[in-house]
């Protein structure tokens, strides 16, 4: 018995962001909605600061600004005042209330408070949606999924069946959202993407100061989620507890397709073939051409990546999708490190990567101190994950391909795509060229032709 195994080790440099951050992203991506944190002002400042650093866009997050007395007497008064202030300032149609550690720890009864608020608000007042997101329970990715589920639970209505498709993409970058919308349009499918922060968190230059809450998924579309032809939800880990698609399946019988994130040829094929079935049309030529060129580029570069070892870190859904993509191109994801905890990552990879699991270490609920320690022993050729891995990259002299959130030491986080054949192409090129650059720059003779 290892005596150390019973000692609780504190988290050192967590490989995840706070849970309400994900919820705030979701509420930012709903039209006429305002994200609202129930807790102290530091939490909203921290989250705004990270979202601003990543997206480089104005981000508005309201807060109930807990003080000492709120902690003692409860936050009802602050919530009440805050909600009314938000209504006065923004005239929103929805307020998305995410709780913080503090609010959850003192045991705030949010459903009851929402009920009280709803009773006093006028008929045409904003919809109030709440989601429980203490950071000691889950990651920013969990907060994201839970917020989508909370919105759908509150809003989705029964009604006559339509042809539209619900798309719960999980946390992807704005350019990937735009690409998804293009894909559905090209298939002739009407899609409700929830959330859609492709404008709110990646807008162009403004003509005048805006409150920046108009863009995003329309509330009417969310109401009609229960009448959709089907739901597509990107999730590799099959976590029903945070699945909005599960809510719709259970309540309205809406068929649910839980697909892996469409990264890499095979995972994209699964997605595109599903769209082909749902739309009863062939896959449009534009995408088959992208697919063919993507495979052509795989072939062109296959010797540069074969057997190359990668360390992946981030949310489990992303780590799973990336690991399967890397194996498809001949790389070995020697360490698959999820910052969140699903408990299913190992099993999912074993199922999709039979026979290669011997060379793959899977960990969940880990931190950067552990990842770096393991990575040092595994001697990988590349790291793939968010900017928080830069310190490790520098310590180990292993190049880092930035993907995920936060990315605060490069520009264009909103455009670091991975979704679809097109996004995969960009990611693939970045991975291969990062490997080539490192080899070339560290080669004593300096290759000029490769």
């Amino acid at each position: 018995m290892n005596p150390q195994s019973t000692i609780a080790v504190s988290t050192r440099n967590p490989c995840r962001m706070c849970t309400p951050l994900g919820a705030a992203m979701v509420f930012s991506g709903i039209a006429d909605a305002v994200p609202f944190l129930h807790g102290s002002q530091g939490c909203s400042t921290y989250i705004r600061r990270y979202l601003i650093g990543h997206f480089r866009e104005p981000v508005d997050i309201a807060c109930s600004n807990f003080g000492e007395s709120s902690v003692i007497f409860g936050g009802w008064q602050n919530l009440h005042t805050g909600i009314h202030a938000v209504i006065e300032q923004y005239h929103p149609r929805l307020i998305g209330i995410a709780t913080t550690c503090l609010a959850e720890t003192i045991g705030e009864d949010i459903p009851q408070m929402i009920h009280r608020l709803e009773q006093e608000l006028p008929e045409d007042g904003p919809i109030l949606v709440s989601v429980s997101t203490p950071s000691y329970q889950g990651s920013h990715s969990d907060g994201f999924h839970r917020a989508v589920k909370a919105v759908v639970e509150k809003l989705a209505q029964p009604g006559p069946a339509g042809r539209h498709i619900n798309v719960f993409s999980g946390m992807i970058c704005p350019e990937d959202i735009r690409h998804l919308k293009d894909i559905f349009a090209e298939f002739g499918l009407q899609a409700t993407l929830l959330p859609d922060y492709s404008d709110a968190l990646d807008s162009g230059i403004w003509n005048r100061y805006e409150k920046n809450i108009e863009s995003g998924t329309p509330i009417e579309s969310i109401r009609r989620c229960g009448q959709a032809q089907a739901t597509i939800e990107f999730s590799a880990t099959g976590d029903f507890s945070t699945s909005a698609g599960e809510t719709l399946l259970r309540r309205f019988g809406t068929p649910l397709y839980m697909l892996p994130l469409p990264v890499g040829v095979r995972q994209c094929d699964t997605f595109f073939e599903r769209l082909s079935v749902l739309s009863a049309t062939e896959i449009p030529a534009r995408f088959t051409a992208q697919r063919s060129r993507l495979i052509d580029s795989y072939v062109d570069a296959h010797k540069y990546v074969f057997g190359k070892k990668a360390v992946l870190y981030g949310p489990a859904d992303w780590v799973a999708a990336l690991a399967i993509f890397l194996c498809e191109i001949g790389m070995v994801p020697v360490l698959c490190a999820a910052g969140d905890h699903k408990g299913t990552l190992q099993e999912h990879l074993r199922e999709h990567l039979p026979g290669t699991m011997d060379s793959i270490t899977v960990v969940e609920d880990t931190d950067f101190a552990s990842i770096e320690q393991m990575a040092a022993g595994l001697k990988p050729d590349i790291l793939i994950g968010d900017s928080n891995g830069y310190k490790m990259s520098r310590n180990l002299n292993i190049p880092l391909v930035r993907l995920g959130l936060p990315i605060h030491d490069r520009i264009g986080a909103s455009r670091m795509t991975a979704i679809g054949y097109q996004g995969t192409q960009q990611l693939f090129d970045r991975i291969v060229n990062t490997i080539l650059e490192h080899q070339q720059d560290n080669c004593s003779i300096g290759y000029t032709h490769l």
């Binding site: 601003i52 480089r56 981000v59 230059i205």
Partner: protein, 208 residues
């Protein structure tokens, strides 16, 4: 910090003086104050010599920037009011006029002092929200906004140069070298040609 210093004086009798290291004026004053505290001629002379050297070192570059920046306008919004004085002063050295200045936590006394310290016409702002700041910025047609990191994207969206002053900065603003850093950054953000691309099509008012 002042609280801590006062406490140490009361409890242990350690004297303190109140200085600012931001801007050439304040930095020089701070060095002299320290030198004068010790009332030692040699220290004073060495201080004078140091200040002279440093000013000779940094001023040529600062003067070059001033040529580009003369007549530009800035808005300042800080956490505490204390920093605002140094910023107004440093901008003045660069030929930049402060169109409005304010802080989140300043008291009436601070604002009176600020009003006296600034040029005539400078608007003194007390605890404004972002929409009010935007209104001031657009009405006064500033070229530069100095605020916290979270105001940056709003300034950028509106086509206004920006410099942050808060604790997350990577490049120091303190001391003589800090004044050079500040001047370079202010010069870069105001003189960047990217704003012209916004003016040409998107800006409403006739600002150029």
């Amino acid at each position: 910090m002042v609280h801590l210093a006062r406490h140490m004086q009361e409890k242990y009798g350690i004297p303190y003086i109140h200085v600012s290291y931001f801007g050439i004026q304040d930095m020089s004053r701070a060095l002299y104050d320290v030198a004068e505290f010790f009332a030692d001629n040699e220290v004073l002379e060495r201080t004078q010599s140091l200040v002279r050297q440093e000013i000779q070192r940094v001023m040529p570059e600062i003067n070059r920037y001033r040529q580009d920046l003369q007549g530009k306008k800035a808005g300042i919004y800080t956490g505490g009011a204390f920093k605002a004085f140094s910023l107004v002063d440093s901008l003045r050295l660069l030929g930049i006029q402060t169109a409005f200045v304010g802080s989140q936590t300043g008291g009436p006394e601070d604002y009176q002092r600020l009003e006296a310290f600034c040029d005539e016409g400078t608007i003194i702002v007390d605890d404004a929200n972002i929409m009010e700041l935007v209104r001031f910025a657009q009405e006064t047609r500033i070229d530069l906004f100095i605020g916290g990191v979270k105001e940056r994207p709003v300034a950028y969206k509106l086509g206004i140069g920006f410099c942050d002053h808060n604790h997350e900065r990577k490049i120091s603003l303190a001391g003589f070298e800090g004044m050079l850093n500040f001047s370079r950054e202010v010069h870069a953000t105001i003189m960047s040609p990217v704003w012209k691309l916004i003016d040409s099509r998107n800006r409403q008012a006739g600002r150029n």
